[in-house]
């Protein structure tokens, strides 16, 4: 049994009685200790997926259907108390911007101790001890003194290390990291990512890494989900997706990487932009930007098929596959 199974998860946003679909029945699994990357442009629904898994969507977003099975139990059907005992304990989250994730008027120690004591019967002193150990694990110098400092006294990189330490406090099974390095200085992004990878490896923690950095995905994750307009359009082993992407969108993303272009020439970007939620095109949502689009793409949403190591939702890939099978039949 996988650690986490998401089944047909649908999220909608309501706006003055009207509702738009932000997440369109997505399904995926994360095994114990597995590191999964979720990539896509802004607005693809990556962060919404992360928050929906914790049932922490903020209004006007709401979950319209589907299941989030954590160790076989549906998180969305649990009582508020059960959900709370899961959050921060079995399933932890790391946010994007460490400058705003920590409460400015509480000390680091208060914020770590309260997390421990929300889930375990510990004295204040015992909780402080554990917090000190965790801070040391994420290479915070003089952790004892940090506990009595306020967030504004620490740098962004230091704060993100502390957020990671907080996520690890209760030895969770899964960490959802929502662009954990985007808001940081480029020089420390690699350090933080390496730390996160090391922590997940050594503690056998599952990781769902939400990012738009394909380089990071290839270094850190074992499996990758590519999202576009609220759907997973390609999923598979990270190696396969990076080396042999099947969906035209994924191919476009990889071709757009600066490493794929000789110095001095223009980057190969994907023309157009992600459709907005209330103007979703018919058929395959990528067809207006797709170089291979045909009439079928404009009218019908493609099904997910298995092809060359990956699961992919594309009519063109489906056509190639049926050609192959018919050739094989002959």
């Amino acid at each position: 049994m996988s650690l986490l199974s998401v089944r047909d998860l649908t999220v909608k946003f309501s706006n003055r009685g009207q509702s738009v679909t932000a997440l369109n029945g997505i399904s995926f699994d994360i095994a114990r200790g597995e590191r999964v990357g979720v990539v896509g442009e802004s607005g693809a629904g990556k962060s919404i997926t992360g928050f929906a898994m914790m049932n922490l969507l903020s209004r006007p977003g709401y979950i319209d259907g589907g299941q989030v099975l954590f160790e076989g139990k549906d998180v969305l059907k649990m009582s508020a108390r059960e959900q709370r005992s899961l959050r921060g304990n079995r399933m932890a989250m790391i946010f994007q911007d460490p400058m705003v994730t920590l409460n400015p008027v509480l000390t680091i120690g208060q914020q770590m101790v309260e997390t421990l004591r929300a889930h375990r019967k510990l004295s204040h002193e015992e909780a402080r001890q554990i917090a000190t150990v965790k801070l040391k694990e994420v290479y915070i110098p003089s952790p004892e003194a940090r506990l009595d400092q306020y967030p504004h006294e620490l740098s962004g990189g230091m704060r993100q290390r502390i957020v990671i330490a907080m996520a690890l406090l209760l030895d969770p099974q899964l960490i959802i990291a929502d662009e954990p390095t985007t808001a940081l200085d480029v020089t420390i992004q690699a350090d933080i990512m390496e730390l996160l990878l090391e922590m997940c490896r050594s503690n056998m923690v599952g990781l769902m890494l939400i990012t738009h950095d394909l380089g990071v995905v290839s270094q850190v994750t074992e499996r990758t989900l590519v999202m576009y307009a609220g759907r997973i359009i390609e999923a598979g082993k990270t190696r396969s997706i990076i080396n042999d992407p099947q969906h035209p969108y994924t191919q476009g993303l990889i071709n757009a990487l600066p490493q794929q272009t000789p110095p001095g020439s223009r980057l190969k970007q994907i023309p157009g932009s992600m459709p907005s939620l209330n103007a979703m095109p018919s058929g395959c949502p990528f067809h207006p930007r797709c170089p291979l689009a045909n009439d079928l793409c404009r009218t019908t949403m493609p099904k997910v098929v298995q092809y060359a190591d990956v699961e992919v939702a594309c009519h063109e890939v489906q056509r190639l596959q049926s050609d192959l099978t018919s050739e094989a039949a002959q």
Binding site: L56, S58, R87, M93, V100, N103, P104, V105, V163, M166
Partner: protein
């Protein structure tokens, strides 16, 4: 901390100098002190002599300097009507006013925080809607009208509370008699306090609600939820502390403003404080008393603001007092 304190005190002194200058300028231009002192049956020569004796013909700055020197020694002139030092007249009336402001502050602090937090947490419940509707009415009706309506309803029609005066008080020390030690005193102070708080209370409920709702949308509240923290702790530890920081600053200014609002409340309830005294002084053109009132109220305002700023510095960890002072 010390440097910051010194800086704040200097700012306060500068503000007091400006207030005293305005006060003094009023004194020189409001009525003729000679007429108040000797009436009309004295000849012009004697008047001129008196003017010289009193220093009224000296240049403006010389007179102001003398006024300032006297003020620093606690002498703000002599009331024409009471024939005693204006400061003494005010100090006798001050405790009644301060007790009224204190009563109103208790009501505001005691009710605005729970009601503001409640309306922020449950913005769509009918109780919240009712609170917000009533608060709009409270803000819209002028204090004197609220006071008169209250007297009509609770004193005249229902007879629940007395409509004027301080009632039975207990002597504490010096000029200070208190309302808070007798049942009759409480009965007398309750309606004026409510009337005085009738504008500030709704304002604070709305302010706390707006701040709290904004804080509840913040990333750190979301992060606290993702850590599995119980809702009560998120509301009252994570959110409330951040909510109250800006409220403290506004609160300091408003307590000072309330001292001025007492003029209306005290007049309607015949409350023997310095607000109603000020109105009487204006009617009698008792210039020294008017000026002394302005300066004393200005002083109270400046002192409360300075104290509130210092408290803000202590409560908000992101304000490093030592660094600010440097």
């Amino acid at each position: 901390m010390f440097a910051y304190l010194v800086k704040r005190v200097f700012q306060a002194i500068a503000v007091m100098l400006v207030i005293s200058l305005i006060g003094f300028a009023i004194q020189g231009n409001l009525g003729d002190p000679l007429r108040e002192l000797v009436g009309q049956s004295v000849s012009e020569e004697v008047r001129q002599e008196l003017r010289d004796d009193l220093g009224l013909n000296d240049p403006f700055l010389v007179q102001y300097w003398r006024f300032l020197g006297n003020a620093l020694q606690g002498d703000l002139g002599t009331s024409y009507f009471f024939k005693e030092p204006a400061v003494d007249v005010i100090l006798k009336k001050l405790p009644a006013t301060l007790e009224l402001v204190f009563g109103a502050t208790l009501i505001i602090v005691g009710l605005s925080v729970p009601l503001g937090v409640y309306t922020a947490i449950k913005p769509n419940s009918w109780i919240s809607r009712a609170i917000m509707a009533i608060s709009i009415i409270g803000i819209s009706i002028p204090v004197f009208l609220t006071a008169i309506l209250m007297i009509y309803l609770f004193s005249v029609e229902l007879g629940w509370a007395p409509s004027f005066g301080r009632g039975e008080t207990v002597h504490v020390i010096g000029y200070w008699d208190t309302n808070f030690l007798t049942v009759d005193g409480w009965a007398h102070i309750i309606m004026p306090s409510i009337a005085l708080s009738s504008i500030m209370l709704p304002m604070f409920i709305r302010l706390i609600r707006a701040e709290m709702m904004e804080v509840l949308q913040s990333e750190y509240v979301r992060f606290a939820k993702a850590k599995g923290i119980a809702p009560w702790r998120i509301y009252f530890v994570h959110a409330l502390k951040n909510t109250l920081l800006p409220v403290i600053t506004v609160g300091g200014v408003q307590i000072g403003t309330m001292v001025a609002y007492t003029i209306l409340t005290e007049t309607v309830f015949s409350w023997p404080g310095m607000g109603s005294m000020f109105l009487e002084a204006v009617n009698r053109v008792d210039t020294p008393l008017i000026v002394a009132y302005l300066i004393v109220v200005g002083f109270i305002f400046v002192v409360t603001n300075t104290i509130v700023d210092l408290i803000y510095g202590l409560v908000n960890p992101t304000v490093k007092l030592a660094r600010l002072g440097a």
